[in-house]
């Protein structure tokens, strides 16, 4: 197990290096000058040159990359061009916001979707299955920003139950903080429930057709036991993979929802940084996102043996 872990961690190094290089080069290929955005349309050439010098943008690109890489290896992601903040603390601060929403939303979605998918598979082609599949398809077809706006309209504006804009960290005031993240969590949970239900149902249908399920039924095991002991554990592995992918994807930022709900999360940080051509922040966020993605998938892989002992044996 340890050797496997070491091998997997070692494999992430070239991935991250490739991500770092790609992001660095792509950011510099797209037109737009952070110094110009900072100084505006009246900046003269001398001012621009001075600003670029101070930002280190007058150096050759390979040198800039090496300089940044050495800094990153020392745990220093640099400073934001836009506001001078240290990038790593900024990322961690914003990540907390995104993570608090994503983790809860995905957990809720999984808690709903896995049993719903299982039941739908069990009642395949029956009205209940059609209802669940229809609901899931509807949820995954709805754009998140639109669903978010609908919820804002209903619970924020019409009913006035929840605040429409703002954010309070849970660590600062749990009760208030909860109010501000209920709607984003609900939106995300609903969307992801649709995705996970489809996967859970498909996996369960596959397993329900296998011989050991027929055997269990032939032995006279009750349906609830068949589903709980034989179908669920075996059908859960593919859904777990999807949960890992979804988590990795969402933890990289839920920019649209963060914009709709005015949450200071990682996705909004990335989008703002791209518009401002804030190179250190974009590079830092994308590298961090890649790291999270790799870590989540590693964690998921390590969890497989819990559900499927054959994986451990291999």
């Amino acid at each position: 197990m340890l050797a496997y872990l070491v091998r997997r961690v070692a494999m992430t190094v070239p991935t991250l290096l490739l991500v770092a290089l790609t992001v660095f080069v792509l950011m510099r290929l797209i037109p737009g000058d952070p110094a110009l955005l900072m100084l505006g349309d009246s900046a003269d050439a001398a001012q621009l040159a001075e600003a670029r010098r101070q930002l280190g943008l007058d150096q050759p690109v390979p040198l800039q990359f090496m300089h940044w890489l050495v800094q990153v290896l020392q745990g220093d992601f640099g400073h934001s061009i836009a506001n001078g903040q240290a990038v790593l603390p900024l990322i961690l601060e914003r990540f907390q916001v995104s993570a608090s929403i994503v983790l809860v939303a995905v957990a809720i979605a999984a808690l709903i979707a896995v049993p719903a998918g299982l039941i739908a598979a069990w009642k395949q082609n029956k009205p209940l299955d059609v209802a669940i599949v229809g609901g899931a398809t509807l949820l995954l077809s709805v754009p998140s920003f639109w669903l978010g706006l609908l919820l804002l309209l209903a619970f924020g504006m019409k009913l006035g139950w929840l605040p429409v804009v703002g954010y309070v960290p849970l660590t600062e005031d749990f009760g208030q903080g909860l109010l501000y993240i209920v709607l984003p969590i609900a939106t995300l949970a609903l969307i992801e429930t649709g995705v996970l239900t489809r996967m859970s149902r498909a996996s369960a249908i596959e397993v329900l057709r296998l011989e050991y399920v027929t055997h269990a039924r032939a032995k006279g095991a009750p349906e609830s036991q068949v589903l709980r002991r034989h179908v669920l554990p075996n059908a859960f592995a593919p859904t777990l993979t999807l949960i890992g992918l979804v988590l990795g994807h969402l933890l990289g930022g839920i920019a649209v929802l963060e914009t709709v709900f005015t949450l200071p999360g990682l996705g909004r940080l990335l989008v703002d940084a791209i518009f401002a051509r804030d190179y250190p922040v974009v590079q830092g966020v994308l590298l961090f996102t890649a790291l999270i993605y790799v870590a989540i998938n590693l964690l998921v892989d390590l969890c497989y043996p819990l559900f499927d002992p054959r994986v451990a044996a291999q």
Partner: protein, 522 residues
């Protein structure tokens, strides 16, 4: 509904009920004015690492010796009076009595000199340094303080724009702050100014909160632009960062915020007629227009540029883009300027026949012309779209290329375009407005109008103090611009604000900066 989901929905119901209770408890604190910012501020350092939002916040915290008045000229602010020597090179500012900084320290001439020393240090990276170090309007050769209430600025040459530039909004109004605003290492900490509000809390990407400064010493004259009497009528002023327009609108309608200051024309329809919302619209100094690259192989022919200008029905275009809220203006001089007169009001006359004749003379045979635009500024895109359609009537083929704002600004700066739909930020003095256009393209590729004679006239307009002479110069520059057609100014922008009806005393004006002093909430 599945059995599995029932408990969840029951839980959500409980959460929603709890939320409702807590939301009512969390209702807006009394005497707080909540204003939307579409993006976070960049810093709290006036005129340094700034954008418009940063300026808006800074101008509530700090004040300069002079401030911009509603007629876009400069008037005394921290100064009680300003004397100018006969040769126009020495400015003597007498400071007002009783002014204190937010930390309680009295304002002295030394504080003014110290602040200006920091502004003039290249390391500060003050946006307006080039204006005062010899590259711009005039070089400040000395700042002296003959007594604690007097500051004397000496220039190397007379300048009609010295006070106006001092008062510029993008210069942070050259706001004066206490030296404790800066650490011993020279790094900026936070502004300790003399404004009617002091900095409370800045939660990045969330809000900037200002608190009423009880020790504020107001001028006694009436409010006039950024000068005149000011009183912080609310205890707290909270600028809330809400990037999404729809969310901001929802926040206003649900009483989550009190004021939206930057509404687009397209959003106006949804807000008009709302019971608890009042709308205020005023013209600003921003200039929407179409720029030409006069060195382009095709567009270097003035006949083609003029044909384009004659193909565009400016009143019709402006009516379409702004729902008839803005007035057409083919002049670089903003309509709100005291220098906007009958000469400036004369623009291009829509004349398709003449346009076609000019195109034929120039040998234009339908070669495509690429026009850059962006969707960050909706008006910029709409102008491009309508002008494309109008140009087609005279046979001019325009292809639109929509790029993001950063890329467009980059192309503008390098002069790398044929045509572009562009929005210039406000330069309220006509000299500054013409200065943003004219200059040698070899050294300043962003300039659209390279004409040495025009540049000489412009320099003169920056130096002569007499209004009549300046008016004559601006009239002449306007006529030359209509002849050379380096660009087609179309109209000055609008500031549209939507406020909850409980907000009282808000007045919009040409410089766009919302002034949140003297504003009450019922």
């Amino acid at each position: 509904m599945t059995h599995a989901s029932m408990p969840l929905f029951r839980s959500l119901g409980v959460v929603a009920a709890a939320a409702a209770l807590a939301a009512s408890a969390h209702a807006q604190a009394p005497n707080t004015l909540r204003v939307r910012l579409n993006a976070d501020i960049r810093s709290t350092d006036p005129g340094v690492n700034r954008d418009f939002n940063t300026d808006v916040v800074a101008l509530h915290l700090v004040e300069g010796l002079v401030g911009m008045k509603e007629d876009t000229t400069a008037g005394p602010l921290l100064a009680s009076k300003v004397d100018v020597s006969k040769d126009g090179k020495t400015y003597t500012f007498k400071l007002r009595d009783g002014v204190t900084f937010h930390n309680g320290a009295p304002l002295t001439a030394d504080d003014v000199a110290w602040t200006w020393k920091r502004y003039l240090a290249p390391a500060t990276q003050w946006r307006c340094l080039p204006e005062f170090d010899g590259r711009g309007i005039a070089k400040i050769t000395a700042i002296t303080t003959p007594d604690p209430k007097t500051v004397v600025f000496t220039l190397d040459k007379p300048s009609a724009l010295f006070l106006t530039t001092m008062a510029r909004i993008d210069c942070g109004g050259s706001g004066i702050y206490h030296r404790a605003s800066v650490g011993a290492d020279g790094k900026w900490i936070a502004p300790i100014g003399t404004g009617p509000f002091k900095l409370g809390d800045w939660k990045r990407a969330q809000y900037v909160e200002l608190l009423r400064f009880d020790g504020y010493a107001s001028r006694t004259d009436a409010m006039d632009g950024l000068t005149g009497g000011k009183k912080a009528e609310v205890d707290r002023l909270r600028f809330m960062v809400i990037p999404d327009d729809a969310a901001a609108k929802a926040a206003l309608l649900s009483n989550g915020i009190d004021l939206l200051t930057d509404i687009g024309v397209a959003q106006l329809g949804d807000l008009n007629g709302q019971a608890n919302v009042k709308i205020d619209i005023s013209a600003t100094g921003n200039m929407n227009g179409i720029l030409f690259q006069t060195r382009d192989p095709l567009l270097k022919d003035v006949r083609i540029r003029r044909a384009l200008a004659l193909s565009i029905n400016t009143p019709e275009l402006v009516r379409g883009v702004t729902n008839a809220l803005a007035k057409p203006n083919n002049s670089v001089v903003p309509i709100v300027s005291p220098y906007y007169g009958p000469v400036e009001a004369a623009g291009y006359k829509y004349d398709l026949a003449q346009a076609k004749k000019l195109l034929a003379e120039a040998g234009y045979t339908g070669q495509p012309i690429k026009m850059l635009t962006n969707k960050r500024y909706a008006a910029s895109f709409d102008v491009a779209l309508l002008s494309q359609a109008m140009a087609a009537r005279s046979g001019i083929k325009i292809d639109l290329e929509v790029i993001d704002w950063a890329a467009q600004l980059d192309r503008y700066s390098k002069g790398d375009y044929q045509m572009m739909s562009f929005v210039y930020s406000a330069r309220l003095d006509p000299s500054l407005a013409f200065d943003m256009l004219t200059g040698p393209k070899d050294t300043q590729p962003r300039k659209v109008w390279d004409n040495p004679e025009v540049q000489a006239k412009l320099v003169e307009s920056m130096q002569v103090p007499e209004k009549a002479r300046r008016q004559a110069l601006f009239d002449e520059l306007h006529k030359r611009m209509l002849d050379d057609v380096p660009l087609i100014p179309l109209y000055n922008g609008l500031q549209i604000t939507a406020a909850n009806k409980k907000v009282q005393g808000l007045r919009t004006w040409a410089a766009e900066v919302p002034r949140l002093w003297n504003v009450k909430t019922r």
